[in-house]
Homo-oligomer: 505 residues x 2
């Protein structure tokens, strides 16, 4: 037996870790970040609050709400801690909203800057829902005397309230996780202070150990109509291992969510997409969500130089009639257009030469990159039994590291393989993820964004999402595209540099 | 960029491939095998039919029914091909049963050897259900003139019938997959020849691309009572990637299956458990299933010396009230007791010495091994943030290959890591699988069986299953057990050699 199997968790990267810092994706300047909280458009700016542990070890604990502001969801400016840990407990996940009409009576009067946060206080295993208000546009929050907790059911497993105004019933609706019971509680209120239990949903779908971070949102269907979507994150015990999210499409009548009989859909096929929250204050045709790129299986052990945690890019949310006869969530990265700087638009014809790249491109190492790809792939008779022609995107470097994204034409499946990156190894850090794009061979449409330690991939115009944290020991500075046992035709092949919007050391 | 990313699929094993041949698990002497079919106890013997492609390439195609017989589910004897491909199509998956009363009228009279097979004929994309009878105890089948297909709905996606006699309603019930519609059809018949549509189930749970291989069975609940279980395999698009299975617990009234509101359960947390079929002809307290250890993502490309495909060991099936308040399927390996030959019962105390194994044992290389383990693990303050103490089982060899099974005490999760085995690499061959054992720290109880290219792991007395194909380039001949940042107490540590029951070259 050669040596110990208990391998070091983090390989020391000779290159340092600077290349792992995202340049568009929000990450904390220092400390540990997990769930997005209180996502809000206040009419002028976006607020991104987040679960934050400010310590230098960049691990979870003594959680407060960090805060950043941006006009465009990209150029974030750090703001001071918004909600602190107090004697009443840590400030766990929750939401923010604008109490325009002063329903709560906690403001001087109606106003577009009446910002309310509702969140979970966690102390000694007790979890209940608290309310705080901000009188300064969302920077500082105070908990008004005598009102908190606004909702307490005596539970140790009751968290992550998300509140929105439901116009048809004229009241505020809260969805909140009865986490270990695998139920989502629906509550109603006229004043945000007194909450009436309306209904419960669950157990449904994948249960895992805990339900977390529910979101209920009405989304536009492409081609017309709307439908409600209930998103539930689960941790641990997601089917890909650890943390993951699922959603249900259905109807909400102001009291009860009834899912359509269309089975279960997962939000993401990768290992690292969790706790998505929908931005409050946007109309449904601009519905937007931001998730956390991470997995509790290893998020406190990934390589760190004093910070850990990355958010997804902002994703526009909608619904599309899918091949299964149901509605699938569609996710579009929002607002990238002004940030794109074209690097290459190579015109390539498919080659039959095995093991020779169709194209081989330099990648910038000081910026995020986006690859847009549309192609058809036909298998050749040389394809081995049980597989079709394959197209492989290989992001690599001179050190021999490789990040592979591939497509198999026989089974119409995509894979991501981060196993040949050497910056991080961990028993739960699965290297390979896969997703089946549907039964029919057709044009494959991919959008990949690589930014520091994050890889976001959207396929078929946002119908499939695969998000992965990636830890190359050195920057990935080459992209080669291979075709194996297939004939590819490219409708689009576009490599963009993305302008950096965040300055982090 | 160093070289091509299109790595060879199969690494040539210097050792040869003989060590990959299971010695207890059924595998075909030559050719390609997938789903178990027609599992039947005829009162004396077990019949294992199976999807079989006899060609020397050991890949799928021109499928017929292979056949083996055993008195004990282990000592299988090969029998001739039972159902052949004909001008009417390949013989796809299906079931067998005994028409004791001659309900079909196809036999000379009632009799315990009136064996009927019902299966899918597949030709030119058309799929319908056929019936054949055997007059010689299940060896040879003939399709009686004028009766076939016994069920045809004009579909190209209608397969895998499983039939049983439902005593309360006095008729035969067929469950069959309307595969791409993600529905299970329920049909009833008095004579096995004429089938009446009763109801449909689905879409429910994970849909994937196709539903396949439904099974409906009434199982005993530990402590009393019974409940119906509907098992559905899906491929591709299972949440772990590719092929996988899920089940629903509920009620069946002879016409319709109504699931209990307990959410979705997956049958196995690994990559390689599919198409389980329940053995016909056994009482519920002996309910038994056999699955296929494989995944369509790579099953035709795994290392082969003329054969591919392995069945699970026979698993007794039952239900257990679980911590989620629902019923979980419990799987027990049946019939191992007489095959066990103890190798080692080391008494070990937990050590605090890092990176030194608590014990280091020789493994036989000419037989399957079973490891039975019961332990408590307490984390020590030296555990890094975000993880607990860990116990690691490392099956290795002098070539530096390692198969790791581990447990994290903080999150109560198990992992399997086959990534340090060098006999096979493939983009869809995920190396790491994980499962969460429930919210409470408690005694962990594991049963591992390593037999050639198969690893079956059952945890918590069969409540969790994780099945993985493994391809070491050389035999794994050492087992070391490590504890990291934890203090372990062992209630059981038992290593057994398992007597070989199959002779395959």
């Amino acid at each position: 037996m050669s040596g110990s199997p208990v391998r070091p968790t983090t390989h020391v990267a000779r290159h340092g870790l600077g290349h792992l810092r995202p340049k568009l994706h929000f990450s904390p300047s220092a400390g540990f970040m997990n769930d997005p909280n209180g996502l809000l458009h206040d009419g002028e700016r976006y607020h991104l609050y987040y679960q934050f542990a400010p310590g230098p070890l960049a691990v979870h604990g003594h959680i407060c709400w960090g805060h950043a502001l941006a006009e465009d969801l990209y150029h974030w400016h750090d703001a001071p801690t918004a909600i602190r840990e107090t004697a009443d407990g840590q400030a766990f996940s929750g939401c923010a909203l604008i109490d325009h009409r002063n329903d709560s009576g906690l403001f001087a009067g109606p106003g577009p800057q009446n910002i309310v946060a509702i969140y979970t206080r966690h102390r000694d295993g007790r979890q209940n829902q608290w309310l705080a208000i901000s009188q300064d546009g969302g920077l500082d929050f105070e908990e008004p005397a005598g009102i908190n907790p606004v909702l307490d059911i005596g539970s140790d497993s009751f968290r992550d309230p998300k509140v929105f105004f439901h116009a048809p019933s004229g009241r505020w609706i809260m969805v909140v996780a009865l986490a270990r019971a695998h139920r989502i509680g629906f509550y109603g209120s006229g004043d945000l202070l007194h909450w009436q239990a309306l209904s419960e949903f669950g157990p449904e779908g994948m249960l895992g150990i805990d339900y977390e971070c529910p979101n209920l949102v009405e989304l536009d269907i492409e081609g017309g109509g709307r439908r409600w979507v209930l998103i539930i994150s689960i941790n641990p015990g997601a089917p890909q291992g650890g943390s993951g999210s699922q959603y249900f499409v259905g109807d909400f009548d102001g009291e009860r969510f009834v899912p359509d009989p269309q089975g279960l859909r997962l939000l993401d096929a990768g290992k690292d997409h969790y706790a998505i929250q929908v931005v409050e204050g946007l109309p449904s045709d601009q519905a937007t969500g931001i998730g956390w790129l991470g997995n509790w299986q290893y998020c406190q052990e990934v390589p760190s130089e004093g910070w850990r945690g990355v958010m997804t890019l902002p994703r526009g949310l909608g619904l599309r009639r899918d091949w299964m006869g149901g509605l699938s969530l569609v996710q579009h990265v929002r607002g990238l257009e002004p940030l794109r700087v074209p690097i290459a638009r190579p015109r390539i014809d498919s080659s039959l030469m095995p093991d020779q790249p169709l194209t081989d491109l330099d990648l910038p190492v000081d910026a995020a990159v986006e690859l847009l790809l549309r192609f058809h792939l036909e298998s050749l008779p040389t394809a081995p039994p049980g597989r079709g022609g394959r197209l492989v995107l290989c992001f690599g470097n001179a050190q021999g590291e490789r990040l592979e994204i591939g497509y198999d034409a026989a089974s119409h499946q995509l894979w991501t393989d981060r196993g040949e990156l050497r910056g991080f190894s961990h028993p739960f850090f699965s290297q390979r993820s896969a997703i089946a794009l549907g039964p029919d061979r057709r044009e494959v449409r991919l959008q990949l964004i690589i930014d520091g330690c994050s890889l976001e991939m959207l396929a078929q115009d946002g119908e499939y999402s695969m998000s992965s944290m990636i830890y190359p020991a050195a920057p990935l500075d080459r992209l080669a595209i291979y075709v194996e046992a297939g004939q590819a035709g490219f409708g689009q092949l576009e490599l963009n540099r993305l302008q950096s919007t965040l300055t982090r050391s």
